[in-house]
Symmetry: C2
Subunit: 334 residues, 2 copies
Amino acid sequence: MLVTFMESQDLSSLESIGLRYLTIRQTKMKMILKVQDQILTSLRDFLRKEGFMEILAPIIGPATDPGIRGAKQASIQYYDAPFKIMSSMILYKQMVVSSIGKIFALSPNIRLEPLETAKTARHLAEFRQIDLEMTYASYEDAMGLAEEMLVSVVKDVREKCSEELKGLGRELKAVSKPFKRMTHKETVELLRSKGHTVSYMEEIPWDAEAALSAMHQEPFFVYDYPLIARGFYDREDPNRPGILRDFDMLYPEGFGEAISGGEREHTYKGVIKRMKLTGENPEKYGWYIQMLKAGVPFSVGFGIGVERLTRWICGLKTIWEAVPFPKVPGIVSP
Amino acid sequence: MLVTFMESQDLSSLESIGLRYLTIRQTKMKMILKVQDQILTSLRDFLRKEGFMEILAPIIGPATDPGIRGAKQASIQYYDAPFKIMSSMILYKQMVVSSIGKIFALSPNIRLEPLETAKTARHLAEFRQIDLEMTYASYEDAMGLAEEMLVSVVKDVREKCSEELKGLGRELKAVSKPFKRMTHKETVELLRSKGHTVSYMEEIPWDAEAALSAMHQEPFFVYDYPLIARGFYDREDPNRPGILRDFDMLYPEGFGEAISGGEREHTYKGVIKRMKLTGENPEKYGWYIQMLKAGVPFSVGFGIGVERLTRWICGLKTIWEAVPFPKVPGIVSP
């Protein structure tokens, strides 16, 4: 009877989240978890082959990435000090690449997204990224690495999890490089031509991003975001003021954002200037500012969300099917 | 000048922690990070070979492991609910093994240890475990797996990081199974015979544990802890009331605790009875209690701290040398 009840639960309903201790036993969840295990293995195998070393990501710290688009950071009391749970380990990646030139980590992140994002079915308040950084490389290099990584993961999953993909009803096509590349400006023009209200000076809103994603059958890049749309760590092009040397990768078929990355603003003066623009207080970033004063190497990096990658690869209706213990914004669950 | 300053800093001093953005560039840190990368690879390779699947560990949740020996959990406000950062994912492992019989995760943990533990040089407030669980196996099986895992990791590191071990001045000897096994009672007797004040009914205090570890040249097990020394999830031996079917593995040479594990008390009635003993309120464990009512399989598991394993393998004076971004109890650092 338990088995019948459990298998009958719709994993894509918000109500099923609180019952995950039952629904995790569904055949469907087992197949998803198997694919996720393969995704983790493939990502690490690819990165090690490319010369990246795995490091232990920070969980908490006195400061974290502020550029989290409407979400709130989670605060804790760390002895006498106010600490945050990492919303992104960008600042820490800049520290460690001053020692090891190519690094990656399975980074645990918390972002308390607005309640309405529960409805997008693509936001989690708790998620993990394979986060990587490399020195003395450009954002073109990073996009090249990202597409090779995705080609490699898709190839591995198609080979090693064909039974699971079949069971999930997912026809995952092989992807091949190069992926299509559009500037933010070109993307806005395309979306406007289709009747979307999109600004040249802002992030692409979620609904337009979903529509953009749905226009495509293969992953693609949007690059050269406007300066004011992103955090102080994305580097402004010295020859094109107001334009960042950064990029997103998007999944096709309406699945939306896959990767966010860019070259880093890594100079003390540059970061202070950018912080002033967005009203950030440099004093809140104590060690980071000290580090920039001492000097860090030029670097580029990106993070790929493990749950969103799993969702796309498995072709899942919702992001909360792509993780064993989902934290959906506003919902109290295991 | 920066290079000279940086290399001259003593990584084992507490003062150096705030300057990690400089000291991370030391040749010594690079060697340690290289060994840590190999340790992570070896642990995962071994576990996958043994049929374990990697899952994504929880970061936060409404309840976590209470058995953290004097440390405090870190609290956050998760929308309208009080949440904790995981101090251990034991309860979640019991959920996922009801779906997949052999699982592991790189689990992020926060334990706000008492300030005086900074001096032990073996406590971090932020750490990671490779945490694993398997169904329908005994604690003897788990000890067997743990020793094979350690033999395998030491073999790999000796082979693949011989340059780094040499650079660190570490003569890491190969280890071979079986490791020595002592009951908690035998251990207390041994320690008492050496003049230590140790109780048959409690955890072994840190100073005695360090002395015990220093008496050994190979890793070893202490098993059958007294019931009141551990949390409600460790299973009492049905034939020997008051004795738990659990174990620790300890490193030799004074490095202390490596692994903590045991068979799980997995019945609803059994857990409620144990919670009453320690004054835990079952209502604080909402989903966990609901899950036990629905039934979970019998399982055994353990966690091995990645930083402590790195410390022992590299032969480091302090635990904060064994992690890129150390959080030492009470000290505000990156």
